[in-house]
């Protein structure tokens, strides 16, 4: 187990290097740069001579390989770099946004689990019933409806019909939990609902498969309580691929947060990513992707390690 964890952790730097290198050259290959974004803004233009001088000041006129070397040397020391667009170190820009996106994603996952597990289990247990049809219909709709569309619909319905909207002034969940709950409720519900749509279908099909296994039939034959058979024997075994999927889903939740943060005005990583890409801020984009990359790799490792808890037969070495 230790060797496995060590091996996985050792894979982290080369993976990040590859990710960063590909991204570095991708960012550099798209037209425009942070100098023009800074000088021109949204509605202004700029004197080409001033622009050129500014590019020199920022080191953007240096050969690409030199810029790459500098980025590599700085990243190797654990420094995520400097954002010219925000005029501060990348980590200082990212840090205050983490809470928002993480809260949104965690709430999303929790809602997804709360909705999907019972829906998937009961859907499988009562296969073909009206409940099964209902869950499948809802999950089909959940997968088909785009998050931003649903977000805007909810926003319009709440404000136009009910005359209510969540507090617009953002505060930390630790400072004002009640207001924060109101702010996160609907975006989390949307995120959770969309994820639940996928998970519930998976739980249903896995449960159907497991319920037809011999050991489940044996459990029933032994006269075990239904709760023990379904939760202790069937669900536990059905959950293994679902947990894998949950891990992947967390990544897509961060992806979905990009859209929902824009719709619901939550100052998180998603909005930051959009602004940084538009501003062509290479330091910020690279720093963000590397941060998310590190987080995701550790998250996936934790998911892999959780298999052992669910199924003691799993061997890592």
């Amino acid at each position: 187990m230790r060797q496995y964890i060590l091996r996985r952790l050792l894979l982290l730097p080369p993976t990040l290097l590859l990710l960063g290198t590909i991204l570095f050259f991708m960012v550099q290959s798209i037209p425009g740069d942070v100098a023009s974004a800074l000088l021109a803004g949204e509605e202004n233009a700029v004197d080409p001579k001033t622009l050129e001088k500014f590019r020199e000041d920022l080191g953007l006129t240096e050969p690409l390989i030199v810029q790459y070397g500098k980025w590599l040397a700085q990243t190797a020391t654990g420094d995520l770099g400097y954002s010219y667009y925000f005029s501060k170190p990348v980590w200082e820009v990212i840090k205050p946004k983490i809470e928002t996106t993480l809260t949104l994603a965690i709430f999303g996952v929790l809602i997804a689990i709360v909705l999907a597990l019972p829906a998937g289990v009961f859907s499988a247990l009562f296969r073909g019933s009206w409940f099964d049809q209902f869950v499948r219909t809802i999950s089909a709709a959940g997968m088909a409806v785009p998050a931003f569309w649903l977000g805007i619909i909810i926003l319009l319905i709440l404000s136009r019909i009910f005359g209510w909207m969540a507090p617009v002034i953002h505060s930390s969940i630790f400072d004002n939990p009640i207001e924060a709950f109101q702010r996160y409720l609907f975006p989390s519900l949307i995120l959770g609902f969309r994820s639940a749509a996928v998970i519930s279908r998976m739980v249903r099909s896995m449960m159907l498969e497991v319920l037809s296994e011999d050991y489940v039939r044996t459990a029933w034959a032994k006269g075990l309580q239904p709760r023990s058979v379904i939760i202790g024997h069937a669900l536990r075994n059905a959950l293994l691929p679902v947990v894998t999927m949950l891990g992947m889903l967390f990544a897509s939740l961060i992806d979905g947060a990009v859209v929902l943060e824009t719709v619901f005005n939550l100052p998180g990583i998603g909005l930051l990513m959009v602004d940084s890409v538009i501003a062509r801020d290479p330091g910020m984009v690279l720093g963000l992707v590397l941060s998310i990359g590190i987080f995701m790799m550790i998250w996936i490792l934790l998911i892999d390690l959780s298999y052992k808890v669910l199924d003691p037969r799993v061997e890592y070495d």
Binding site: A45, I152, M165, I169, S171, E261, T262
Partner: protein
């Protein structure tokens, strides 16, 4: 069969959701049309749709009548020489109730805490209230230069120099004393910014050649040329004064809300990065109301950034925010359905939107073709087609070269290339030139797929025998293409911080402004007139006469750009918000809210 049933149910549910969305959206259109019809009846009411220019005195009068302690200050003389007509009075402050916190939407998050490094108006709405300038434009008309940190000023007879006398006892928010050295430091920083610090709105400050500190409160400035334009440059909403003692410690870089330390009427209390700035009244603010009581009236201001207009509209409709300087008509008018007390006021934006022609290459290196293209376009139709249906009068207005400050603004429709009566003749003339010069196709770069301009131009030009190929790129890529000189036609817009033709020239036509990109060199006569204009007094008859002459030269001998339209904008506020008039430049000028108050 089961699959079919679930599919049918799923599709039905999606259809129901779609109907819901359409119902919500269509109320936009209906509501947009409704106020248009109701506009005449509501004009001048304190809570209805208020037409722009004529309504302002009425709105002010209504506000004054509503104010228990309403009082218009007596004009205060400043020591400007009789020769200049600028700044004869301080802003006509209107008394109001004290207390309360104004919550406003500051547009999108301003991204950079140093507001001088970003040209977007969200910076002024979010940050300007914490600062002061040497001078400032009146929040009542957006054009008159009034005192700020400097209480008096003079221009030398030859206009080669100016002198500013500053208020005494001014303190920074951190308790340090303000001094003339801070002004010198700030202007030097504008002209020689630290590496990586952009200064996009520098134009007017380039007129400063050197500065001399006469004493602790007096500053003499030598100009690079004879000009009176140093005054509006000092009043520009972006040209705020920074504290030397703060920026010296950070190498001239301001990168945190904690470093937002000014001398303005409000100071930063707290902030949530990306969302809001909570400001409280500065108890040491140096300006007093005319009755001697301290400014500001408000206890505080909270500005909230909103990522989209739907959210802004919802925040206004639910009463969570009090004021937003600009919201699209399709979003603003439906709010009145839910909240009839909302006041929507139309104001003319000090902007210029036009088509840039690359004159360094064919076909638009040819003046005749540029003129034919400009006159062949039906800008009235463009303004009409790109306006939100149902908003009367149109959201966009056709313009000549100086946008809002157009010398021919009142009768712009009578200009040769704009006059509907001459449309057929203009089109025939344009078509003949295109044919003679062999212009059959041209590329039009666009950075906004949803903006109808390119499509309208394409359709109009097709009728004149020219095939316009639209190339759509994402905004930064499109801009980069323009910088590289790879565009032929490019639609652009520019907002200016003062309702003055000189500001339009500074931002759009003057060499070095930025939008002179690939623009033909101005005729010598035009440049001579510009020099004279630089010496003319702001808003004077001389200025009007000069710009009228320049406008004629631009149509006949230069045609640097195709002037197309400028937007009207829509201020939305709760009815208890007083003393924030809807004027041109409201986005920039009305961002300190020194005399705004709440009638709650």
């Amino acid at each position: 069969m089961k699959f079919r049933i679930s599919s049918v149910i799923a599709i039905s549910m999606m259809a129901l959701l779609s109907i819901g969305l359409v119902a919500c959206s269509s109320s936009d259109a209906a509501a947009a049309a409704a106020p248009a019809a109701a506009a005449p009846a509501q004009a001048g009411s304190s809570s209805g749709y208020v037409p722009s220019a004529p309504a302002q005195p009425a709105a002010a009068a209504a506000a004054a009548a509503a104010a228990p302690s309403a009082e218009v200050a007596a004009a205060k003389e400043v020591s400007a020489k009789p020769k200049q007509t600028v700044a004869k009075t301080v802003t006509e402050f209107e008394g109001g109730k004290r207390g309360g916190v104004l919550t406003l939407i500051s547009g999108k998050w301003f991204q950079r805490w140093d507001m001088t490094t970003r040209s977007h108006w969200s910076s002024t709405q979010g940050l300007n209230r914490h600062y002061s300038g040497v001078l400032q434009f009146s929040p009542r008309d957006g054009l008159t230069v009034t005192p700020d940190l400097a209480k008096e000023w003079t221009l030398s007879d030859d206009l080669m120099g100016s002198s500013f006398v500053f208020n005494e006892g001014v303190k920074w928010h951190d308790g340090e004393d303000f001094s003339v050295d801070d002004v010198i430091y700030t202007i030097n920083r504008w002209q020689n910014p630290p590496d990586g610090v952009p200064q996009p709105r520098i134009a007017g400050l380039l007129l400063v050649d050197s500065m001399e500190k006469v004493d602790d409160n007096t500053l003499n400035i030598t100009h690079t040329k004879p000009t009176s334009r140093i005054l509006p440059a000092m009043a520009d909403a972006w040209h705020i004064i920074h504290p030397e003692h703060v920026l010296e410690k950070t190498g001239g870089v301001l990168s945190s809300g904690d470093q937002v330390i000014g001398t303005g009427p409000f100071k930063v209390d707290s902030f949530s990065e990306g969302n809001n700035v909570v400001s409280v009244a500065n108890p040491d603010y140096f300006q007093n109301a005319p009755d001697g009581s301290p400014f500001p009236y408000l206890d505080g201001i909270t500005s909230v950034a909103m990522a989209n207009n739907d959210l802004s509209a919802a925040a206004l409709a639910t009463g969570q925010v009090d004021y937003y300087t600009t919201l699209t008509p399709s979003k603003s008018f439906p709010i009145k359905d839910k909240r009839p007390s909302i006041v929507i006021t139309r104001w003319d934006s000090p902007g210029f939107q036009g088509i840039s022609m690359n004159t360094t290459k064919a076909p638009f290196d040819d003046l005749e073709l540029r003129k034919a293209f400009a006159c062949g376009l039906n800008t009235h139709a463009i303004a009409e087609l790109s306006s939100t249906p149902g908003v009367v009068p149109m959201e966009y207005r056709q313009i000549s070269f100086f946008g809002t400050a157009d010398p021919n603004y009142e009768d712009v429709a009578s200009l040769k290339c704009v006059d509907p009566a001459q449309r057929e003749a203009n089109e025939a003339e344009a078509m003949a030139v295109f044919k003679a010069k062999g212009l059959t196709e041209v590329e039009f770069d666009s950075d906004t797929p949803t903006d109808p301009i390119a499509t309208i131009v394409q359709q109009q030009m097709k009728e004149l025998g020219v095939d316009v190929k639209i190339v759509v790129s994402e905004v930064t890529s499109a801009r980069e293409k323009a910088y590289a000189g790879d565009t032929t036609l490019f639609f652009f817009g520019q907002a200016v911080a003062s309702k003055s033709p000189v500001e339009i020239i500074n931002q759009v036509y003057r060499p070095g402004a930025g939008f002179e990109l690939y623009q033909a060199t101005p005729p010598a006569k035009w440049s001579e007139l510009l020099d004279q204009l630089d010496m003319a007094t702001l808003g004077s008859e001389e200025e009007k006469a000069l710009t009228a002459q320049m406008d004629t030269i631009m149509w006949d001998e230069w045609m640097p750009k195709v002037p197309v339209r400028r937007p009207d904008e829509f201020q939305v506020k709760q009815d208890h918000v007083r003393n924030i008039d809807a004027i041109a430049t409201a986005k920039f000028i009305q961002s300190r809210f020194v005399d705004a108050w709440l009638d709650k």
